[in-house]
């Protein structure tokens, strides 16, 4: 069960984009509290603002207004350098298209966040191995992404997101490019991480999977937070 202490707190967050003379309200006045070790699924149709909200929580984008408290700091007010450090040390991100670097081996891909965090070279192999063990891919370290299946690539992406031992894991449509069986394997893996003590926010449009693996569902539409509810799996 998730602890009641909030890991992420969004207060009246808005993100507007100017497109010519028009203003698009990608996220419009959203307030939301996500507890520590909670697995929250953000649901909604395309263009509802869920990925934009995830990018705001991940520090990839800045809100037009409002504040985002994560790891005890308002990340909306951080300097570009501190925001980069936040992305490096506090959050791990997983993407629908895996976003692995094709010319690097699996091991090198997972090691990349350690380089950016300036972790010592002697410590890195153990950390990489630990992350790969968590996703069950220690036997493929020397392979390149193109030599792996979609599910394996997503597991490498999860290992890369975990290697810096973040407090928050953000996943943007992690099963979008996978078949349903593989998708379930990946979500089971995320569920395990949550159980090991990690706050997870996942964007998905697959309600059934969200109901099955997440703790809570937040539904968005037209940039607004429409509702939040406990997942059925958990409710049952």
């Amino acid at each position: 069960m998730p602890a009641s202490n909030p890991a992420i707190q969004l207060h009246r967050i808005s993100r507007y984009h100017s497109m010519g003379l028009a203003t698009v309200r990608a996220v419009d006045d959203v307030s939301l509290s996500i507890n520590q070790y909670e697995f929250l699924a953000l649901l909604g149709p395309s263009g509802s603002g869920k990925s934009t909200l995830l990018n705001l929580i991940g520090g990839l984008d800045r809100p037009t207004s409002g504040s985002i408290f994560a790891a005890g700091q308002d990340i909306a007010a951080l300097s570009p350098l501190d925001l980069a450090r936040y992305r490096c040390n506090t959050v791990g991100m997983i993407f629908q298209s895996f976003n692995l670097l094709p010319r690097m081996t699996l091991e090198e891909n997972v090691e990349l966040p350690l380089r950016l965090a300036e972790i010592g070279r002697s410590e890195r192999p153990a950390r990489v191995r630990e992350a790969l063990e968590r996703v069950g891919l220690t036997h493929r370290v020397g392979h390149r992404p193109a030599e792996l299946s979609g599910g394996e690539q997503q597991r490498v992406a999860i290992a890369r997101a975990l290697v810096n031992r973040p407090k928050i894991l953000l996943a943007d449509e992690p099963t979008g490019n996978l078949d349903s069986a593989t998708g379930e394997v990946i979500l089971a893996l995320l569920r395990e991480q949550s159980a090991l003590g990690m706050t997870i926010v996942m964007v998905t449009h697959e309600r059934s999977l969200a109901e099955k693996f997440a703790d809570r569902l937040a539904v968005m539409g037209d940039g607004k937070l429409l509702s939040t509810s406990l997942a059925k799996g958990l409710a049952q």
Binding site: L60, D61, A117
Partner: protein
């Protein structure tokens, strides 16, 4: 990101698009090569000119004349008052000047009109005494035959134009003999006057006695070693200075000195050449010699003008050489901008994983710097080879013209280091815009770009 990781990533990126990056690096190399070749030519020519001029002794030599000299280097001469007669340029003055600090040697100019007989035919010409040190002046480099065997040898070197008058095949003259006919000065017996007590005073006059001297021709020279400043009429027969001194040949100033009776009984010189240890001492030496009561002249000012000329010459060559490097700079900008466009998504991933703007900027800078450094090394090598090729080609041409080979191009260490530093600096400057563009990439937009 730590420097080692940064370097690792940058080198990996460069090796990804190997052909494109190699061509860009080659572009930098061509630019640097053109710069190095141009400047090495400038440096080589400057060194060539400086060496020749320094060997010629023009810039470390002071020309000394008495204040009553007929020839005043084009400047009006102030006649000394009868109460304070001008000092004679005699052996005492020569010794005094020779003792001054920074003086290597002091030698007189002995030059006289005379007649030379070769194969019983007379030829009028001017004979000059050459000091032994003139052997290293560079004027005798590449001469036919050799320099004098000793400072007192009865040997002659002929100027090629004069040699051609003697024989159509001037080269065959070496080893043959000629007869020098000259007017020897012989002091007259003591002067006897009616005034009591004046008996036995030196007369101050001299008689002229024709003399012959057999000289062996040891060389034929194409340059005009005795045509430096201070010369009056080109000397075409060169003999050792000490040999010339022992001849006591009548010179142009002798009659004047007799008339003035300024230096009775002593050998006077129309001029002395004073060689200093370096051109830096010439100015101070000139002042000291002027204090002795003589006129002086040196080519120091001309040397300064020469240095200014070569500085401007080098600058112009550098500008022309830099044009190719400017084109290469555009190549670097283009390559990096293309690379950033291609790696847009990768930059987005790096940023999403925690890379700071400065990390991305440094990564691009590093890539530009590596291309600049490698291009610089290759460019220096190409530039040196180009210089060597030009030197080789020039020397082939010079040899065909029966001229001595020269070192046309010189690549000193400072040019190697400066070219490398310049190549890296230019490449980093070229990387400024692409690096800034990469650093400013919005990670959300970059990740969306596939």
């Amino acid at each position: 990101m730590k420097t080692r990781d940064l370097a690792d990533l940058a080198l990996r990126n460069l090796s990804e698009a190997l052909l494109r990056n190699a061509l860009t690096t080659l572009g930098v190399a061509v630019g640097v090569a053109s710069l190095v070749a141009m400047l090495s030519l400038g440096v080589g020519l400057q060194q060539l000119a400086s060496k020749r001029l320094s060997q010629s002794g023009l810039f470390d030599t002071i020309f000394v004349t008495p204040k009553n000299s007929f020839r005043g280097m084009g400047r009006p001469q102030r006649e000394a008052s009868p109460a304070n007669p001008p000092r004679a340029l005699d052996e005492d003055a020569r010794t005094e000047i020779a003792k001054m600090p920074a003086v290597i040697e002091v030698f007189p100019q002995i030059r006289f009109f005379t007649e030379v007989r070769f194969q019983n035919k007379p030829y009028a010409t001017v004979v000059v005494g050459m000091p032994d040190s003139s052997k290293n002046s560079g004027s005798f480099d590449g001469m036919q035959g050799r320099f004098f065997s000793s400072p007192t040898a009865n040997e002659a070197i002929l100027q090629v134009e004069f040699a051609k008058e003697l024989s159509e095949k001037s080269g065959l003259l070496v080893g043959q003999e000629l007869v020098l006919r000259y007017a020897e000065r012989q002091a007259l017996a003591p002067h006897v006057t009616d005034t009591p007590g004046n008996a036995g005073e030196p007369s101050g006059g001299f008689s002229v006695v024709p003399k012959d001297l057999r000289l062996q021709i040891v060389g034929v020279v194409e340059t005009e070693p005795a045509a430096g400043y201070g010369g009056y009429g080109n000397a075409r027969v060169l003999i050792p200075l000490k040999t010339a001194a022992t001849l006591r040949a009548a010179q142009v100033n002798d009659l004047r000195d007799v008339v003035r009776d300024s230096n009775a009984g002593k050998t006077t010189y129309p001029s002395l050449s004073v060689r200093a240890t370096s051109p830096a001492h010439v100015e101070a030496l000139e002042a000291s010699i002027k204090n002795l009561g003589f006129n002086t002249f040196s080519l120091l000012d001309a040397s300064k003008s020469l240095r200014t000329f070569f500085s401007v010459f080098d600058l112009l060559l550098g500008i022309f050489g830099s044009l190719a490097l400017a084109v290469a700079t555009l190549g670097i900008v283009n390559t990096l901008v293309m690379a950033i466009l291609e790696r847009r998504c990768e930059i987005g991933i790096l940023k999403a994983l925690g890379a700071a703007d400065s990390d991305v900027q440094q990564l691009v800078f590093f890539e530009a710097g590596v291309m600049g450094f490698l291009g610089g090394i290759l460019g220096v090598l190409f530039g040196w080879l180009l210089g060597q090729a030009l030197t080789f080609g020039t020397n082939v041409y010079l040899r065909r013209q029966n001229l001595n080979p020269i070192e046309l191009s010189t690549v000193p260490w400072w040019l190697v280091l400066a070219a490398l530093a310049f190549a890296v600096l230019v490449s980093l400057t070229a990387g400024l815009y692409p690096a800034s563009r990469a650093a400013k990439l919005n990670p959300v937009d970059a990740l969306r770009y596939e």
